[in-house]
């Protein structure tokens, strides 16, 4: 058996150096990563990369920074398994392998000129943050912006400094809710779906984008439809386990599409026709 070296393999990685690590919560860390020669990752909001640590493996992680901030990119990682635990052990200056970016992200072009309703549940704020900061950096291209955020409890809320900044901006309506909280919590308590009826929006001018745990979508979509938002104005980022990112390995397949190449963001008018998609 002869072993031939190849340079154009889809499995080839780039060496990414960790420039900064921020502890967001007990479980989540934010990694700022720089590619060699300060090469831009050149991603769209909502895309993901395959992060690898040799000897441990690879995992798909969504990019949580906006492509408008080109000198580095950020990944928000929850310590939830063997790979992410190893990632959490890393220090500034350490390297990770990067493949990608992969997939079809959030619908930036259809969003332009329209009002935008962004709905994030739990860790769903991480990929959605790439879009939120993209919108902030191109604020004039978008109409009214509403951000609804749901979290398990106040302690698990991510990007707290940024949330405070979004809340302060007069050109963004930010609203959050927690599933449960101690009595001193002054904000909303309840599921994220409870925030939708109160949002003041023009349904035909609004494009809604949701990102969160799979269980959230059915309920969120029901509320959005009740508000009169057309099905074709709703986008969902679907959670699947992408092993290769190249549309081959089959793990992320939903009927005839590969989530890693054709998604993870899909229009609801497609999703609703596909049994088992949400």
């Amino acid at each position: 058996m002869e072993s031939i070296a190849i340079n154009q393999s889809g499995y080839q990685i780039k060496r990414g150096r960790i420039e900064e690590i921020t502890e967001l919560t007990e479980l989540e860390k934010l990694f700022r990563i720089v590619l060699p020669d300060d090469e831009a990752l050149d991603h769209d909001p909502g895309q993901f990369v395959q992060v690898s640590l040799f000897g441990v493996g690879e995992a798909p992680i969504s990019i949580c920074s906006s492509p408008t901030r080109r000198d580095s990119f950020e990944l928000c990682v929850r310590n939830a398994g063997r790979f992410t635990a190893a990632l959490h052990q890393l220090k500034v200056g350490d390297e990770v392998g990067i493949r990608g970016p992969f997939g079809v992200g959030f619908p930036v072009v259809p969003l332009e000129g329209n009002d935008v309703l962004l709905i994030a549940g739990g860790l769903g704020i991480a990929p959605l943050r790439s879009l939120i900061n993209f919108i902030i950096d191109n604020r004039r291209d978008f109409g009214k912006v509403d951000i609804l955020l749901g979290s398990r409890d106040p302690e698990s809320m991510l990007f707290c400094d940024e949330l405070a900044y979004w809340r302060k901006r007069i050109d963004i309506n930010f609203c959050c809710s927690v599933d449960r909280a101690a009595p001193e919590w002054e904000g909303n308590v309840g599921l994220i779906t409870a925030l939708i009826p109160g949002a003041s929006l023009d349904p035909l001018k609004t494009i809604a984008v949701a990102c969160g745990p799979p269980i959230m979508y059915r309920f969120v979509v029901d509320e959005l439809l009740k508000k009169g938002i057309p099905e074709s104005h709703i986008y969902l980022s679907l959670e699947r386990h992408m092993k290769c990112g190249l549309g081959k390995c089959g793990h992320c397949q939903i009927h005839d599409v590969y989530c890693c190449q054709d998604g993870p963001v899909f229009n609801y008018s497609w999703v609703k026709k596909i049994k088992g998609a949400i």
């Binding site: 002869e2 031939i4 393999s9 000897g55 939830a80 386990h241 081959k248 005839d256």
Partner: protein
């Protein structure tokens, strides 16, 4: 020359010639009516009258364990992507298995192209062999129109009374014919014999399930919520046999295999199965195909319906391996029959 003849008496010389040039792989008997593709040095080692081998020739195109990268983590994340290749001739591949290889070709040449597969494929010479008769009751090649050659080979042999009619499809095939010096031009009598063989096949090979090829995807679309899937799910053992033996199943996992020093190692891809419980599991332990019935339905749809939309072809070759190897005796033709009955 696009066609040639080889006398039966010269077939052994051809295999010896091929074996002198490199590795030759052909169907080898294993006893108990079973066969496998394995390296041979002579015609005598092979059984050309064979039913589908336990594993399809997929194993040479997409090995069960395949190195994608060699890495060295001593100084950051350093690696080199590699493809492991071996020059080989696959001899005596039936039309169902040629169809299976064509399916893999379509998947791995679809963008983004998989260079590991594409490079390895270029090192393999394919010599097909026509089936004159049915393998056994599990076969459904006629329903899927795979009982006749449809390309995907370098050379294709059809058995005549005292020789083989050889269709030459590629330059590689033509070179082999010329260099061996064992072939002769086609005669009118041979052409007539080939036509007779194909006429006879029309009588022997009939669609094994009373459904037209073009109607199969719709059958699966319309029976997505059928009780048949529940019943099959109750039988299925989730063992993954059906996917391992399938000539077109290509799902895989990617993992690292560290050396003993834990610094160096290789990243490999390994066959995986959509029939396993963990296959579609995501963070938070949610699975989108939690039930065996969901997974079984997914696999059948991946053979007969989804790829029609994506690749314009079915990914069942009709080889019958899944039914033959199923420990729970889930039979493809019976499943199709049950779905048709349920739909009415």
């Amino acid at each position: 020359m696009t066609q040639a003849l080889i006398a039966k008496t010269k077939l052994a010389d051809l295999v010896s010639f091929l074996a002198l040039c490199g590795k030759v792989v052909g169907p080898v008997p294993l006893g108990h009516g079973q066969f496998k593709f394995a390296e041979v040095r002579s015609l005598a080692e092979m059984a050309l009258d064979y039913i589908p081998t336990i594993l399809p020739p997929k194993k040479y195109f997409m090995p069960q364990y395949e190195t994608l990268l060699r890495y060295d983590g001593a100084d950051g994340q350093q690696m080199q992507a590699v493809v492991e290749v071996e020059e080989l001739v696959l001899f005596g591949v039936h039309t169902c298995d040629l169809a299976g290889i064509q399916c893999l070709n379509v998947v791995f040449s679809d963008r983004p192209r998989d260079l590991h597969y594409m490079i390895r494929k270029n090192h393999i010479t394919l010599i097909g062999l026509e089936c004159s008769d049915y393998c056994d009751s599990y076969a459904s090649c006629a329903m899927l129109r795979n009982h006749l050659p449809k390309g995907g080979y370098d050379l294709f042999f059809s058995e005549l009374s005292d020789g083989y009619f050889v269709d030459i499809k590629t330059q590689k095939g033509e070179q082999l014919v010329e260099e061996s010096g064992l072939f002769e031009p086609v005669s009118d009598a041979a052409r007539e014999q080939l036509q007779e063989l194909r006429r006879a096949k029309k009588q022997i090979f009939r669609s094994e399930v009373p459904i037209r090829y073009q109607d199969i995807p719709r059958l699966f679309d319309e029976t997505f919520d059928s009780d048949v899937w529940t019943r099959i799910g109750e039988k299925c053992l989730s063992c993954g046999n059906c996917t391992n033996v399938c000539p077109t199943c290509y799902c895989f996992d990617v993992m690292d295999e560290p050396d003993l020093d834990l610094t160096r190692g290789r990243r490999i891809r390994v066959w995986d199965s959509c029939q396993h419980e963990t296959f579609a599991k995501v963070a938070g332990d949610e699975s989108f195909r939690e039930q065996r019935s969901d997974r079984k339905r997914h696999r059948f749809n991946r053979k007969f319906r989804y790829p029609m939309k994506r690749y314009k072809r079915m990914f069942c070759t009709g080889c019958g391996r899944c039914s033959r190897s199923c420990m729970a005796k889930i039979d493809l033709k019976e499943t199709l029959g049950a779905l048709m009955e349920e739909r009415g």
